[in-house]
Symmetry: C2
Subunit: 598 residues, 2 copies
């Protein structure tokens, strides 16, 4: 058995059934090991970036996690954007990079430490990946392989999860080893529960009980800690409003009685009114990112005591104007267990407040009747509404980066086992399509709904062939506004409609012809009236499908926060009289300015 | 005037006429400045990786250098593989990345230094790019912009050139500045000439005169220091064999009377015999990479005193078994001037030795008659020979990474002003196509010959649209062996023909249909007899063209070095009798072993 065989055996033991790779000289021996191991298979990609994104989504929706394998130099650097997706969104993935032979490394001898390169395609990927991995490591000796894999795997999965990278010089890959003689890694698994945690849980109970307008923010941490069921049990006897962040959007059924909506810059007005009028906010697994809090964090939930549960203490201790009053630094799965154990028979019923939140939800719907009645082009909100109704209860929807993602998150109603995600923190254009392929492979060629923009689909368009060659029934809905919509909206607002490089200088290829080129079924939706029939037709088919959805070139995101405003006051502005009536917390000065200018 | 305007003004002053970009939130203000500056324009790409490769080739063939502009996070990380091309091959390029606002940076406050991200799409690109740039820098204050640009530019161009990166927080991009009040950068430009250098030049003269079998190795440094004319003047009165490395392949006319060929793993047998039989070798601007020396550097030019001129002292001082006896650490342009100044009336005429070298060149041609007579499929050597004959005297040929590049470098005869290059050190698949677009833009939409493989063209296939939208007459010759040929050859030799992920698991899309999809003219060459007519037809057209050249799926690279052998003994092995007769230097033991086993 050689090191390469050992790596595959290790992955098999960790329930990895598929890896994503592109071969190359320096990874040849690892790739060769697949010829001797039938319990694990690989998917070839046409660009390593796609492999990293496929592994990311495989880890999000699959049984455990996944891995990439690439060659040294450009093979490894091509992974970085994909690795960053896993880093910012706390997804465990393992990236195995081939490297030049140990004796051909620049740091093999002090005389070569400062040269740019010794071995062919040598690149210091370990240093380059360090800022976006939990652990980035080069194997020095074949006898360390067990220790390295066990440690790497442990780090990827433990605490706040994330990606890890192992760089393996070519010569080491084919070294013979005796598995029974390899050193193992013993993690210090004990989580020491602080006494203060119980006190803090007690405090949370008291705040939930005594506050007048409590609310719960559900973040991405709920999914990442696999506690969606525990969450439901937790909120069962809490009749208070529940809102989510973007990352938390699919952690709770949107039909749940107290669910109000997503908060933040592109959040729903109702959800933002909830959070901004709360006197107690319990954040579960949210880092309270700037897109959640608005550009001025101190304006977020400014009338509330804030409690937060987060696995990453650094997130809890940020001092950016938004102070967290009660910080609980544990995994959510432990939090829910402790809460259940120590807090018996809690019933919280803030009926009037919850009723108010639900009234806002009705008063400020995302999809307006005028959107449904739009005659020319497809209205993306009307589209998402209809798509939502057609989707199955266990559908997986993956969004890319751009205006289409905001439309999807604003208007899709996620129910039951449905998933809706993107690479939220990193937000690369080009994520959704390979991620859809990875998700489909993770779930036995399940149908995946892939929502992209006309700009973002081009980034990884080479993988259309991977989809077709592997017969993956991915349904690509391209929300086509002929340019970078979210940039155009920015340029319209702040740059006097100078559409440099978004409208001007930018153009699209002919997607119909390109689909034909890659042998992908193609259809178009050009007006609201065609939405239902075309979606249904595309979903009935067992094949990959590309649906070009024509939206207005200047289609706006509605609502959207303007620079400097607090999140309850998104644009377009609602009448000041209504705004004031909705504000139970004191509005801040720049709301007043708007009143004066109105 | 704001910082963004200043950046464009600066680039214009440095003769940059085109930059390559993809817009995005964090670079919006820089991109907006193009609306106010008509002296510089931009090309939009569909993936930032292509922008970096376009800037790289623009710098190689253009008047000065070029720049990219991208947004933060994935925009920036997508550049890295392209930046690495410039780093390893010493190409000056500037990469301007947008970044989140200064107050949204993780390191803006000590409490956030350890969080993964604060601002939306914040990524520490400065650290990630550091291993592959000469200077990687984040702007802290708008008043530093002049100093930063001048310093950055100076560093990129001076000494051994290379890429630089400036990361500019969004808020700073639109800050107003008074250009007349900005601090400037004063480089210490004085190059101190060591007295010993003149002695060493004298020594070189003596070696050239007194040695029996001297030779000259021309490396990439000749092009990078723009000294091709000085080189010609230098060798004018030296009747000794001249060989090149891959990077140096287009630094001298292959019709030059003493030119023998390329050396190294995939070099010509004649050139390798020259270097291995030399008793004095003068290396001009070559780092003597492992692909040049063979895997065991001490076997390279082992009968020779070696002198080397290199701008990078680290390259001269490498101790990897190959010791350089005379090290001159100056720019080649200075070396040639000093030589001319201090060495008068040098005439060196090693007629017999040169004659021997020229005989080897005739005896071991790259293109064999059997290659020309091949009936099925196109023989790539015959193809390159004919392509070479058809090309104009100032043609630019850019190769990708893979078997096709070895065929091109082995069999193209570069003459006059022709160029032939690839991103040699980094060698990413996908370089040649965007590089061809960048080169064409640098030279007023000049025709560019782009040689790729069926695997490598897919990596940046999204830019087919950029080519068509910008009407760039790039002629893409895809050497199609239906898989990764160079990997397949490796697997055949060392892995018992287990073609994992190169033949098995790998497949190609239908290039004909894809070309139709992107509206690119498409043609095919399926046998040797069609080569000339199809090439001529493709070149007559003023449009982009894609020519699918079908070579045998198991087409070999001939000759090629096997692991452990010295470069004079490439495979397939020549008869031992001939081999011995050719070796004037003592052959080494593993050559003897071959004799015994024969």
């Amino acid at each position: 058995m050689n090191v390469a065989d050992y790596i595959l055996d290790f992955l098999v033991k960790k329930k990895v059934r598929h890896v994503f790779l592109m071969t190359g000289g320096a990874i040849s021996f690892v790739v060769d090991a697949f010829s001797r191991n039938k319990k694990i298979s690989y998917t070839c990609v046409a660009h390593e970036q796609a492999a990293a994104m496929m592994a990311d989504s495989y880890s999000r929706v699959g049984h455990n996690f996944s891995a990439t394998m690439v060659t040294s130099g450009p093979g490894a650097t091509n992974l970085l954007t994909g690795i960053a997706c896993s880093w910012f969104d706390s997804i465990p993935t393992i990236h195995i990079c081939g490297q030049v032979n140990s004796h051909e490394l620049s740091n093999a001898h002090k005389s070569t430490k400062k040269v740019r390169q010794v071995g062919f395609q040598e690149t210091d990927i370990v240093s380059m990946a360090r800022p976006i991995t939990k652990f980035s490591y080069q194997l020095k000796n074949e006898k360390d392989i067990r220790f390295a894999l066990e440690k790497t795997y442990y780090i990827a999965q433990s605490g706040r999860p994330g990606p890890v990278l192992i760089d393996i010089p070519m010569g080491l890959q084919r070294k013979k080893i005796n598995p029974s003689k390899l050193k193992s890694f013993k993690p210090n698994k004990q989580v020491i529960l602080k006494k203060s945690t119980i006190n803090e849980i007690q405090k949370i109970k008291n705040f939930l009980t005594k506050s007048k307008r409590p609310s719960i923010v559900v973040g991405g941490g709920v999914r990442y800690s696999k506690t969606t069921k525990a969450l439901l049990a937790f909120v069962k006897n809490l009749n208070i409003p529940i809102v989510t962040t973007w990352s938390g959007v699919d952690s709770i059924d949107h039909d749940y009685k107290n669910y109000i909506g997503c908060i933040g810059d592109y959040g729903s007005r109702a959800a933002n009114f909830v959070i901004q009028n709360s006197d107690f906010v319990l954040c579960l697994g949210s880092r309270l990112d700037t897109r959640v809090t608005g550009g001025i964090p101190k304006n977020f939930a400014r009338g509330a005591f804030i409690a937060a549960v987060d696995i990453d203490k650094n997130e809890l201790n940020k001092k950016r104007g938004l102070n967290i009053d009660i910080k609980i630094n544990i995994d959510l799965s432990i939090f829910f267990k402790l809460f259940k154990k120590y807090i018996k028979n809690l019933h919280v019923d803030k009926m009037d407040w919850t009723q108010q939140a639900l009234e806002w939800k009705i008063k400020y719907p995302t999809v307006l009747q005028s959107f449904r009645n739009q005659k020319k082009y497809v209205n993306p909100y009307a589209f998402m509404e209809q798509l939502s109704e057609i989707l199955k209860d266990d559908e997986i929807v993956i969004g890319d980066t751009g205006a289409h993602l905001t439309w999807a998150i604003q208007a899709l109603k996620i129910r039951r086992q449905q998933r809706l995600f993107s690479a939220f923190g990193n937000s690369p254009m080009g994520y959704a399509f390979p991620a859809s392929l990875g998700a489909s492979i993770a779930l036995k060629k399940k149908r995946i709904i892939c929502i992209v923009g006309d700009g973002s689909i081009q980034v990884n368009i080479q993988e259309l062939h991977t989809m077709v060659a592997n017969k993956l029934p991915v349904k690509i809905f391209a929300m086509n506004n002929n340019g970078y919509g979210i940039i155009k909206q920015f340029q319209k607002l702040y740059l006097s409609k100078r559409y440099e490089a978004s409208g001007k200088g930018f153009s699209n290829p002919d997607f119909k012809k390109i689909c034909k080129g890659f042998k992908v079924s193609y259809s178009e939706i050009r007006k609201n009236g065609d939405i239902e029939a075309i979606i249904k037709k595309a979903l009935v088919s067992k094949k990959p499908e590309f649906i070009n959805v024509f939206v207005k070139p200047d289609q706006q995101i509605i609502p959207k926060l303007s620079f400097g405003d607090p999140i309850e006051d998104q644009s377009p502005k609602i009448p000041r009289k209504d705004f004031y009536r909705n504000m139970l917390t004191k509005p801040i000065s720049n709301n007043k300015k708007i009143i004066e200018s109105n």
